[in-house]
């Protein structure tokens, strides 16, 4: 999932995209061990995220921003 985001956003964890719109961070526990992988998008959690879901998440995020 991390690699998919790196590919989709073109930045590594801890970095912000060149246009300043998206910051990608690796975060600690979001309390979802049973629902891995958990991704927090603007404070809201997505559960059971697989690499295949990443493109849609980024497009949705880009659409919002």
């Amino acid at each position: 999932v991390v690699e998919a985001f790196e590919h989709e956003l073109g930045v590594a964890p801890g970095e912000t995209t060149e246009d300043g719109e998206v910051t990608f961070r690796a975060v600690e526990c979001l309390g979802g061990c049973g629902y891995a992988t958990v991704v927090a998008v603007d404070h809201r959690y997505r559960q059971h995220v697989g690499p295949g879901d990443v493109q849609a998440i980024v497009e949705e995020l880009r659409g919002h921003s």
Binding site: E28, G31, C33, G34, Y35, A36, A40, R44, Y45
Partner: protein, 438 residues
Amino acid sequence: VAIREVLLAGTDARDLTKLDEYRAVGGYDALPKALAMTPDALIELLQAANLRGRGGAGFPMCRKASLIDRRSPKPTYLVVNADESEPGAFKDREVMGRVPHRLVEGCLIAAHAIECKRVFIFIRGEYLAEYEILQAAVDEARAAELFGEMDITVHRGAGAYICGEETALLDALEGRRGQPRPRPPFPPVQGLYNAPTQINNVSTIATVPAILAGGVEAFKQIGVESSPGTAIFSISGNIVNPGNYELELGTPMRELIYDLGGGIPDGRQLKAVIPGGSSVPALAPEEIDVPLDYDSLQKIGTFFGAAALIVVDDRCCIVQLALRSAKFYQHESCGKCTPCREGTRWMVQILERFEAGEASVSDIELLESIGSRILGRSLCALGDFAVYPTHSYITKWRDEFVAHVEHGGCPYGGESSLEGIVAPLDQHTHSPVAEVPA
């Protein structure tokens, strides 16, 4: 093996986040029963139910209540620990997100037992959705005039494992940096704002309405004699069906793992189970017939903990597993006590030597020796939590440590399931979520 729902009862059929729906399943019927009793009679009743704390230590809930000095000129406080932070645990999240009113009702009952007018629920900052649901339930119950002279404040933590430790939680709640306090005095004597304070886990308090509603005898029919009731078990890791399962205490661990959990994926073999969250000694496959209750787990040298089972399959390097959890506790050590602050760091450094192929066999003894000098030597148990699992790995999987020495590094050669998951911890940061978005 059967699901037995007390905490989550009714959540499948109805949306119990709503007051009307919760009332439709008998919700808030226990409250007037409790309020009609004197605090002493209520404590006696809860004592007879022998409800043990679901947060980790398993301390009888009512012993905490009976220690509260109700003659103190200061107010008494009830604090609910909703700072669920133990790796592997996500049971309280389920309670708050699905049946927040049961927690609210439990708070009002437990508060009456200690003549408390002000309840605080300390919820971890990362539980944003659950906070919103819980706050809405509190507001709804208050508007329905269920609170009487009592009130409930939901306080969001800022994200630190240590704040789940009860005295650090109190400091954080008071607006200070969350660090443990020396004991004695214990919180029932001198807790929040130096006033008598009872602190209980979410699941403990949310079990209270069922005891009042159905009576003590009916409650004691559930579970085992030494630990009546149910618990929500969180199961995660290398398991086909991860998630939360509410079961009677005393249910054999094997049934949870293989029947409900569906066993280990892809035909792999079970290697270890960490039964109570990452802080407790791990069990080997031949030990998983143990009943899931406080005393049975303690009898075989581990703990019930937060009822969080982490299942580990045979792809996992035990040294990496030890390193992953030691790094977590090193990172989360608040730094107040030297044995924990320095000791967890040393443990990480030694474990890294094993992985790098720079360890000798004597480093196994060194690791044990450092661990034994962390245990019990700090204000809280955080340092101990790094030691318990590590010591169990050394005891039960010593051959893997030796193999790292003989092989000159990790014998898994990059194929361990934790490979690469160990390193990124360095770049992990806590969730930045502090404010509730508009």
